[in-house]
């Protein structure tokens, strides 16, 4: 039997040492924080007495200690969940936040908060777990035909995340009062007022961990090909199902207890592996332990008085802390996580002829006419011929959204081709997030800024982030997987900061919400002209990249053999996309995902050569934005729906559907 010769897993000493170090550090900080609540001499009394006497004792035994416990349990649960996802999907990027699990739990909680507040009395746990399961099942349902390749699962998870985020944003816009509490859930605050949440979470976690430990030996087999596992007499589908269900329930319980905390599930197992734990039997024990201690550490740091009087959310802090850890890990190891996917076989190849061009021109004109003239007024639908009105309020919005769509369509194709990665896009890579960080920085510097300042701030932000990506990715010769991981890391940090600023409330809340939602509402004539100019320039400049793109497609070695400076070309194209994206992001915000959707739509039709693809994608992006802007202006008149939200809401499901259809 294989078991008898199997050796006990070796543990390299660096893992226990790190756990010990983090543990001691967090214990020390916890002691410092706890003695501010209650002098250490009274700790035992406070614990042994059934009824807390003084207020200090109450705070110690019913707020500080449960918080400590919840922090540890959440860290442990998220690490365990991440580990299970990664093991059963053979995908080191899988974790509750990348698979839509957390977003599903959150959306379910928000929906019940707004429409069925009575349900919350039943318990947040079941609602959150239901949402988590539904979202994750959607991701798997979509990928079931695509053979669950790691890349397609992450891509589907990303789009499900985006769509759920959009739904939440729309609920927040329509019900601002009721949804205020969502902001707290998004930032992951750990304040506790009793032992009940800790107890429930602990029970859930213990069950999950027991199941995992019990299945550990079989789960290790999932590292092999399914055919091998079946030949060993196991049922991989069952194994996977059980471990995924466990992961979902554990992650859902965390969201129900304290909200979303990103990165722990991704970073902690990666950290444990980097510290030498290769074997699942080692990981199952040490990764959750490490995760729990790391979250305790983060939570204790956040409670130090120097930190905004202890009001900084732990989840935000953990993300800010975790992302650099991930980046360091990435630069240290040569990861082979996401191999660039070979281009899908071109079953249908569309050749662009003159009649196509004529059709495109006609469609564009029709769309322009409708979006300019058809609208709603005080007395209902109308075909407006008031040129003054159109020029004053509609023209620049149409102009700006069309141009922004064109720019995103172009940058999307450029980035996808350069990185040879169909899930790359300005949004995924963090370029749009860079523009957001510029906008947030501006908010803190000045309260009376103009739209011109906003443009400059966004451009600087996205150029900085892009340069960072280019510098970091240079070392790996712009390997696609590296770029995506860096992008996800950057987007997560910036998303966490944004969620925190929104949660603080105050005047900036509304501004950030509209920024994230991508509204063309306040576009000025100047901005519209600027973006239009950048878009026209792009249409002229991009054909120059045509040859390089075709050569790059032959593969790196062939391209070099043909005399193409591969790294320089890639860097230049990425930088150019960054500038285009910055201009577009000012108009439609960071989350429209037009840059991801438009190239996919075009590929779906069967246009594969670089230049036709770029122009078709530009047209698709422009049309998408144009329709979204028009719908946004008319759908819930006199209220308005931000165009960026609408493209995400329409495009997301469309994208998922097309993913499912594709073999």
């Amino acid at each position: 039997m294989a078991q008898t010769v199997e050796r006990r897993p070796r543990i390299s000493p660096s893992l226990p040492f790190s756990v010990l170090f983090v543990g001691l550090l967090s214990l020390m900080l916890a002691a410092i924080n706890l003695q501010r609540v209650l002098p250490p001499s009274e700790w035992l009394d406070a614990l042994s007495s059934k009824q807390p006497g003084s207020l200090q004792e109450l705070l110690f035994a019913w707020a500080a200690l449960p918080r400590l416990a919840v922090a540890f349990l959440c860290g442990t649960a998220l690490s365990l969940s991440g580990l299970l996802f990664q093991q059963s999907l053979r995908n080191p990027l899988a974790e509750p936040t990348t698979l839509g699990t957390s977003a599903g739990a959150q959306a379910a909680l928000l929906a019940s908060l707004v429409w069925a507040p009575g349900l919350l009395g039943v318990g947040q746990g079941p609602i959150a777990i239901f949402g988590a399961a539904l979202a994750t099942a959607t991701v798997f349902g979509i990928c079931s035909r695509a053979g669950r390749s790691p890349i397609s699962i992450i891509l589907a998870g990303l789009v499900v995340n985006l769509t759920l985020g959009t739904i939440c944003a729309i609920i927040i816009l329509l019900y601002p009062e009721q949804s205020e509490d969502l902001a707290q859930w998004q930032t992951g605050r750990l304040e506790q007022t009793g032992w009940m949440p800790a107890l429930c979470l602990g029970l859930c976690l213990l069950t999950g961990w027991a199941i995992t430990a019990f299945l550990c030996r079989s789960l290790r087999l999932l590292e092999m090909e399914d055919a091998v596992v079946i030949s060993l007499g196991m049922k991989p589908a069952w194994l996977r199902g059980i471990s995924l269900a466990t992961a979902i329930i554990v992650a859902g319980a965390v969201v129900a207890t304290i909200g979303t905390i990103g990165f722990i599930g991704l970073a902690v197992p990666a950290l444990a592996r980097a510290l030498g734990a290769r074997d699942l039997r080692v990981l199952v024990l040490w990764a959750p332990l490490l995760g729990g201690l790391i979250l305790v550490l983060a939570d204790q740091i956040v409670q130090m008085p120097v930190f905004l009087n202890g009001q900084f959310p732990t989840g935000t802090f953990a993300s800010i802390l975790g992302a650099p850890v991930l980046l360091v890990l990435l630069s240290g190891t040569r990861s082979r996580t996401l191999r660039s996917v070979s281009r899908p076989m071109t079953s249908s190849r569309l050749l662009i002829g003159p009649h196509h061009l004529l059709g495109i021109i006609l469609i564009t004109l029709a769309l322009l006419a409708v979006s300019l003239a058809l609208g709603r007024g005080p007395s209902g639908w109308e075909w407006s011929t008031d040129i003054e009105l159109i020029k004053r309020w509609r023209l620049m919005r149409v102009e700006a959204s069309l141009s922004a769509g064109i720019l995103l369509g172009i940058s999307g194709v450029l980035i996808q081709r350069v990185t040879a990665n169909p899930m790359a896009s300005p949004e995924v890579m963090g370029i749009s997030a860079g523009a957001t960080i510029g906008a947030i920085a501006l908010l803190f510097v000045s309260t009376t800024f103009t739209s011109g300042d906003l443009f400059v701030a966004c451009a600087i932000g996205s150029l900085l982030v892009t340069s960072a990506i280019v510098i970091l990715a240079r070392r790996s010769n712009f390997a696609p997987d590296r770029i995506i991981l860096i992008g996800i890391a950057v987007s997560t940090i910036i998303g966490a900061i944004g969620a925190f600023v929104i949660a603080m409330g105050g005047p900036t809340r509304g501004l950030l919400l509209t920024w994230f939602s991508g509204s063309t509402h306040r576009v000025t004539q100047d901005q519209a002209m600027l973006v239009a100019a950048v878009a026209i320039l792009a249409m002229v400049v991009v054909p120059l990249f045509g040859r390089s793109l075709e050569v790059l497609e032959l593969g790196e070695d062939n391209a070099r053999a043909l005399g193409l400076p591969v790294s320089a070309t890639r860097g230049a194209i990425i930088l150019y996309s960054a500038i285009s994206t910055a201009a577009a992001t000012i108009i439609v915000g960071p989350a429209s995902f037009v840059g991801l959707l438009a190239p996919h739509m075009v590929r779906q039709i069967g246009i594969h050569r670089p230049l036709p693809q770029i122009f078709a994608s530009a047209f698709a992006g422009g049309a998408l934005m144009l329709v979204a802007d028009w719908l946004g202006r008319t759908l819930i008149f006199p209220w308005q729906m931000p165009a960026g939200l609408l493209t995400a809401l329409i495009g997301g499901p469309l994208f998922l559907y097309s993913m499912r259809q594709r073999r």
Binding site: L58, W393, H521
Partner: protein, 298 residues
Amino acid sequence: MIPTHRFERRVHRRTAILGAAAFVLQGLSARAASTAAPRVAAIDWAAAETLIAVGITPIAIADLAGFRASFAHLPDMVGTIDLGSTWEPNFELLDRLKPDMIYLPSWSSLSRAQLEQIAAVRLCDIHGKGGDPIDKARSFGESVLNELTTMSEPSAIRQLEARLQRITRKISPRPVFLLNLRSTSRFVNVYATGSLPDSALVHVGLQNAWQGPVNGFGFASIGAEKLLQSPDASIVVLNQNDRTTEMLSRLERNIFWASMPALRAGRVHVSPPISVFGGLLSATTFAEWLADTFDKAT
């Protein structure tokens, strides 16, 4: 909650509504005497309240349904049009309504350039710009009077000022928490410096028990256990209509809330429905309720 509280609340609510309605009717009759009413659009809710208080019904208000819900003490408006969200008022619709004047909150003055193409724009700086909201509300009210009405004194704003004058520092100082409840009992919103309720609190002579940091609107979301840091403080729960009762019942399960000295000593008061983003009328009504409540409580 204790039944007497609920009863007290209902009575207060009724008197508040009656008072406000009578007050506004008075303003309306005064207006009728003057020339054709100015066409005013309000994107700022505090400005809308002030306008209604001096007898000018805005032709359009941003987020009208939200405004009606938060300002239930104002009489019904006829013919007022919804302008869409406060953050993104519908420019096109507003343009076609041809207003003479637009009141914009100064904390979201980004749309100012666009709105100035439609009509004269006035900024309302009662909230979110620092300073004492009651002072700001007073000077804002004066500016509205000066610009839009031809009424002779004593005008509506002067009357509110006189009512406020009467209760200045009327109550002996003691610490009070101003709370807005949340749907999770782990957190409460606490109002302090820079918010309208705090301004009214300080005006009648009370002290705000929350000294920690707050956001630009003068409130912060804090863990409920932080309230124990000032065990002597009384608690005022700012009433948000039907949601408050439900949230109070949820809070009762919270051990910190249950062991709050204020609750045991009957020092928890639920206010009549108030709008924290209101103007001088809201501030006066709330200040009078505070003076009344804490006068009896001594």
